[in-house]
């Protein structure tokens, strides 16, 4: 076994165990913390896939910013009533099972039908996922979408202001 395989095994195990712990946990705050662990393990697997930038973003954006938001909401709102959510609404449980089966079928299809082909060669180089490379792509090939997204963000900011500011003069 190479070091890569050992590391993959480790990260994968952590990710799966933390995911299971997350959905079985009784306390929402503990669940949220397990989700953070899950994100950390996932970003480890991203590094193994030579996607260093995505790994860093995963930690900064998901584990950092979004989970903090999650935890704040959980601590402030104390959603105790949600524990009996599935007991009150048995039909939602059925829906959840259907969606779960669909997702599983999708992943199974993707895994079984994947052929290791031409993508592997280019993606296996270490430089592919570096920030430098992604930055270069953003400012050359994807320059126009990049600029357009700037306008999307501007519009969203403006909209948040228009819709929610208490007193618009």
């Amino acid at each position: 076994m190479t070091l890569e395989q050992v590391l993959f095994g480790f990260f994968a195990l952590v990710a799966v165990v933390s995911a299971v712990m997350m959905i079985t946990g009784k306390n929402p705050v503990v669940s949220a913390l397990f989700l953070v662990l899950n994100f950390g393990a996932l970003s480890g697997t991203y590094v193994l896939l030579r996607a260093q930038f995505i790994a860093v973003v995963q930690i900064i954006v998901y584990a950092g910013a979004i989970m903090v938001l999650f935890l704040f909401v959980l601590m402030l709102l104390r959603p105790d009533r949600e524990q009996s959510y599935f007991k009150d609404k048995p039909q939602m449980k059925l829906l959840a099972i259907i969606v779960g089966v669909l997702m599983l079928a999708q992943i199974a299809y993707a895994v079984l039908s994947t052929t290791t082909g031409k993508v592997a060669e280019e993606a296996s180089r270490i430089e592919t996922g570096t920030i430098e490379n992604i930055g270069r792509e953003l400012y050359t090939t994807y320059l126009l979408p990049f600029e357009a997204i700037a306008f999307v963000l501007l519009t969203a900011t403006l909209g948040a202001l228009v819709l929610s500011k208490k007193k618009l003069d």
Partner: protein
């Protein structure tokens, strides 16, 4: 990347509009007389850009590493978006003052929305389609809720946002699956790897999801449930924008992405029935439900669903005539609906009064000009010959017949016959009802200018349909 400054003439409209958005932001922030400057800056820049788009119509080009195409149909769409945007801005000027919701941001959002539409129409890459669509949809959500103190407007914005985000999810998922199966996002190369013959299920599902998402955006049954509430609740000027150029932008994305698939043998077997089903459902459901409406904005919302059905016929035909017909129809539909909503916004009283069809009783004798114009737009929406929509329907139905879809054309004609009832009811109420209209109309010169320009365009397209369809068919 090779960057050539002389290229800029091709995509100049985009650069100018982006600059106008930023300049308007600064004006709104720092200049006291912004309420006087902004509307006219918007109108003038839109008119200038629509002229510029027509100037460069014969110069095809692709820019930014094949992300953006210009020339031909793209420029026709750019003309439509900008000219429609100018008419909307004209309608908006007095409407916002009357309903006391004036904020300069309305015009900035209007400009960004048109910028997004232009990006969609010019897209050569699925990423551009998506980013442009997001830019357009985001502004629509905000503009729908622009009357912040009115409950209906809030409801419209929230409903549109939640369902629109759901539709966007469909589209993104579809794009991901398409990318996974074709290994490219470039629209020209899209169908090289991903073919219908090879039973590439992932890609086909992706295309279906993409189509479903855009069926939401063009307001086609069965993704229509948001249309009546949003069109009714949003400020009338916003409804005018969403229902006309917004629909045209979504259709331009469908034309760019879905219509190239029709060339393939197997694709026609799968895609044509799908699109034809959507078209049939929209036409039948929309025209039957519209009969029962008592609110004019709601009635026009259902009419918008019916028209989406007619236009889908052109897409289902899958031939070049069909696409040209759809573009002609989109231009015709945009201007007659802009005119109709413009008139509604002029007639509308404060706090959403005078919106029931029965309120229009006796309008013909009290305000003959307004009533005459409204009658003209209603005739045109029905598809009565001297006006634009008749030829729009004619081209679309002919394309369907040429593609061996005679039954679809017949359904279309039947739906047109049904729609005669609810459009002409407005005319009948206006001219033959007893004069009971209690309301005073505050005349609005800018809005009337926009409405009359739309009316002239509708008549022009009805009188000279040949030269316009020739222009469209040339590319």
């Amino acid at each position: 990347m090779d960057f050539n400054l002389s290229d800029i003439t091709g995509y100049l409209p985009l650069v100018i509009l982006a600059a106008v958005v930023l300049i308007s932001l600064v004006i709104e922030m720092y200049i006291k007389s912004a309420p006087k400057i902004l509307p006219w800056l918007t109108v003038i820049s839109f008119l200038g850009l629509s002229y510029q788009s027509l100037l460069t119509i014969g110069k095809p080009g692709s820019f930014f590493n094949n992300m953006l195409a210009t020339g031909g149909h793209v420029n026709i769409f750019w003309f439509l978006f900008n000219f429609g945007g100018a008419v909307v801005a004209l309608i908006t000027i007095d409407y916002l003052k009357k309903t006391e919701i004036y904020h300069g941001e309305y015009y900035i959002l209007l400009q960004s929305s048109v910028l997004g539409m232009m990006l969609i129409a010019g897209a050569k890459d699925l990423i551009m389609v998506f980013v442009g669509l997001e830019l357009m949809s985001l502004t629509f959500y905000i503009l729908a809720g622009f009357a912040r103190k009115r409950l209906f407007s809030n409801e419209a914005a929230l409903k549109y946002f939640l369902l629109g985000a759901f539709a966007t999810g469909f589209i993104v998922y579809g794009l991901a699956l398409i990318y996974g199966s074709s290994q490219t996002l470039n629209i020209d190369k899209l169908y090289e790897h991903f073919t219908f013959e090879s039973k590439n299920i992932v890609g086909i599902i992706g295309l279906f999801l993409f189509f479903a998402g855009f069926a939401f955006k063009i307001a086609s049954v069965p993704f229509h449930m948001w249309v009546p509430d949003v069109y009714q609740g949003a400020p009338t000027s916003t409804t005018a924008l969403m229902s006309t150029v917004g629909k045209a932008a979504a259709f331009s994305a469908l034309i760019i992405v879905v219509s190239p698939a029709f060339g393939k043998e197997k694709a026609t077997e799968i895609l044509t029935p799908l699109v034809a089903t959507f078209a049939t459902l929209s036409m039948v459901y929309g025209s039957i439900t519209a009969i029962m409406q008592t609110d004019i904005k709601r009635m026009l919302a259902y009419s918008s669903i019916v028209h989406a059905g007619y236009m889908l016929i052109g897409l289902a035909a899958g031939n070049k005539e069909g696409i040209d017909g759809v573009i002609f129809y989109l231009i015709a539909y945009s201007f007659m609906n802009l005119g109709a909503f413009g008139l509604i916004s002029v007639l509308e009283g404060k706090e959403e009064k005078n919106l029931a069809i029965s309120d229009y009783t006796g309008l013909g004798s009290k305000y003959p000009v307004l009533a005459g114009l409204l009658a003209l737009f209603m005739f045109s929406l029905t598809g009565i010959p001297p006006f634009a929509a008749f030829f729009g329907k004619y081209y679309v139905f002919m394309a369907a017949i040429r593609a061996d879809l005679l039954w679809l054309a017949i359904v279309g004609i039947a739906a047109s016959a049904i729609s005669l009832y609810f459009y002409l009811r407005v005319v009948v109420v206006m001219y033959f009802g007893k004069d009971e209209s209690k309301f005073e109309v505050t005349s609005s010169n800018p809005a009337l200018t926009g409405i009359i320009v739309s009316a002239l365009l509708v008549i022009l397209m009805g009188v000279l349909p040949g030269s316009i369809i020739d222009l469209i068919a040339k590319f």
